[in-house]
């Protein structure tokens, strides 16, 4: 692309570094910003600068937060005897949206995958072990993706935690709500059959 201005070119180059944004989209976004008032654009860039410089990670659960300790970890109403282990902050948001969970979280920051250069040392595993050791945690829920990396991570955490006086559970895997059996894939359906549960347990209050 030939740009009429070096400044324009720089801005487009920065935008096209974002995931899912190519050169044309980047140009469209930049031209859109140029059409806005100076005040608005300053607000926009100020938000980004503050985001990067002021964001913290909760020192307990490692979730993205404004304070040293995040709102969830600081809340008095939350049940401190359960920890739900998730991959990243998006999973925390997803589980919070269900309104079904009132315990605490622990954000791992990834999944174990040596192929991608991620081992337990890159994750917040040690701090999790410390939390379980020190606190009065009764149950740990492993809520990780049903992928090969997710399974590996679950297996690793299980080995790390199994000798501690804590119950280890994983989220159920099976047929989606509103899903018809004939359209479920074989592996999901097969696993649902193998790990079936007594009907009474499925009646959620």
């Amino acid at each position: 692309m030939n740009f009429s201005s070096r400044l324009l070119e720089n801005a487009v180059a920065e935008f096209s570094k974002l995931p899912g944004v190519g050169q044309k989209t980047a140009l469209r976004l930049v031209l859109h910003l140029l059409n806005q008032s100076q005040e608005d654009v300053e607000k926009f860039s100020y938000a980004l600068t503050r985001l990067r410089s002021e964001i913290r990670y909760c020192k307990t659960c490692h979730n993205i937060s404004d304070q040293q300790v995040c709102e969830i970890c600081a809340a008095h109403k939350r049940d401190r005897s359960i920890i739900c282990i998730v991959e990243d902050t998006r999973d925390v948001m997803a589980i919070e949206n269900t309104n079904q969970y009132n315990g605490l979280y622990h954000v791992l920051g990834g999944l174990i995958s040596p192929m991608d250069g991620i081992g337990p040392a890159e994750l917040t595993v040690d701090s999790l072990v410390e939390r379980v050791k020190n606190g009065d945690v009764k149950e740990v829920i492993l809520a990780l993706s049903a992928t090969m990396e997710g399974d590996t991570t679950i297996f690793y955490l299980y080995k790390k935690l199994k000798d501690m006086p804590v119950q280890i559970t994983t989220i159920a895997r099976g047929i989606a709500f509103g899903g018809e059996l004939e359209y479920a894939d074989e592996i999901t359906l097969g696993r649902s059959i193998v790990t079936r549960v007594p009907y009474e347990n499925t009646m959620v209050k």
């Binding site: 192929m115 337990p120 590996t152 297996f155 690793y156």
Partner: protein, 366 residues
């Protein structure tokens, strides 16, 4: 199952051709470069969604044209089935069964099983062990659709374990628990693959021996042996005992990815001590055993394609082979040869009717 009609449009060196086949023996005769093997490849394409020789689909299109089309009319389980495939340059290939397009090509593979014997098969003997494992894996996966998934999972665990070993060497951080996890995952899927390979080889080796003895009338002593470290040892123990070695070499030195088929002639390696004709006989027996295995598993006869089969075989073995494949155990057969008279003479000798097609520069006359 058999192929009644085949039509080609802009496929390789054929602008247009239409052929009707016999339910038994069909032969294509013509000079070098006439397009005999391309006809076999067209049949292969319809059955297994790809060329036997060249994995690049657009290169199957006639030079100067921008699409190809293949259509085959099969008879399968007393039903007429029309399989059509078309590919346009820079578009996805379309595969249709009875005018309905497939969502997944994998659903088609295995419905119309086929065994091809070609001079290219020599790589099974002369190349590395990977080719031989591929042969075994191909045979099993045509009859067991979970096998390939299991193999993919195993390879991923293996890659992960190898990456981990490299990282341990690079960073000096060694977490035995993490390595242990990859060991356990490898063992779980490796063990299942091993059981399947072992079961396959147990059924396969006697059939291979039978075919080889028949073909060569015991002129030489050959042996096919499945070798796996897991035959004598338990996989978990193997990984455990080789941890130190694996850490030094930074890769996994034990497991089913080291499985091997050993081919010997009079107790010596076939690759070095077998003559070209002996190697070819060995390969033919191997492929025919694959045919018999597929037939046993599927309950019907696959197609058999014989490319340039008479090359390097002596007259005696040629006749034996033709007697064998035109026997009831085999179904529809397609043969190519440069010499029409030789084919007619051989089949005349064993009094088997043959439908002969003359192939000349992309045109076929029967």
């Amino acid at each position: 199952m058999w192929l009644q009609k085949l039509s080609l449009l802009n496929f390789k060196n054929y602008a247009e051709a239409e052929l009707s086949f016999s339910e038994t023996v069909n032969a294509f005769a013509g000079d070098n470069g006439a397009g005999k093997t391309n006809l076999l490849d067209a049949i292969h394409y319809l059955c297994l969604c790809k060329s036997y020789f060249n994995p690049i689909d657009v290169q199957q299109i006639l030079q100067g044209a921008d699409f190809f089309m293949l259509q085959g009319v099969f008879e399968r389980a007393a039903q007429t089935e029309v399989i059509a495939c078309s590919l346009k340059r820079s578009q996805k290939k379309q595969f249709k069964r009875n005018k309905k397009e497939y969502q997944r090509l994998a659903d088609h593979i295995g419905l119309f099983p086929l065994v091809m014997i070609s001079p290219y098969d020599i790589s099974i003997i002369i190349e590395g062990s990977e080719e031989r494992r591929k042969f075994v894996d191909n045979s099993i996966s045509q009859t067991d659709n979970h096998y390939l998934d299991e193999l993919i999972a195993y390879n991923k665990h293996l890659q992960n374990r190898n990456s981990l070993l490299r990282q341990i060497a690079d960073t000096g951080r060694y977490d035995p628990q993490l390595l242990e996890i990859f060991n356990e995952r490898l063992v779980a899927s490796g063990q299942r693959i091993f059981e399947k390979r072992k079961m396959f080889m147990e059924a396969f080796i006697p059939v291979f021996n039978k075919h080889y003895h028949y073909l060569t009338e015991d002129a030489e002593q050959v042996e096919l042996v499945y070798e796996s470290q897991l035959l004598h040892d338990d996989f978990a123990g193997l990984l455990q005992r080789n941890t130190e070695r694996d850490r030094i070499l930074e890769r996994t030195t034990t497991g089913i990815h080291k499985d091997e088929l050993s081919f010997t002639i009079h107790g010596l390696p076939m690759k070095k001590f077998g003559s070209q004709g002996q190697q070819k006989s060995f390969l033919i027996a191997l492929k025919l055993a694959q045919y018999t295995y597929l037939q046993q598993q599927k309950g019907f006869k696959p197609l058999l394609l014989l490319d340039d089969i008479f090359d390097k075989l002596d007259e005696k073995r040629t006749r034996k082979l033709m007697q064998m494949v035109s026997h009831d155990d085999f179904g529809q057969i397609f043969i190519t040869d440069t010499n029409a008279e030789r084919i007619l003479r051989i089949f005349d000798d064993i009094s088997v009717p043959v439908k002969l097609f003359n192939v000349d520069k992309g045109t076929v006359t029967s």
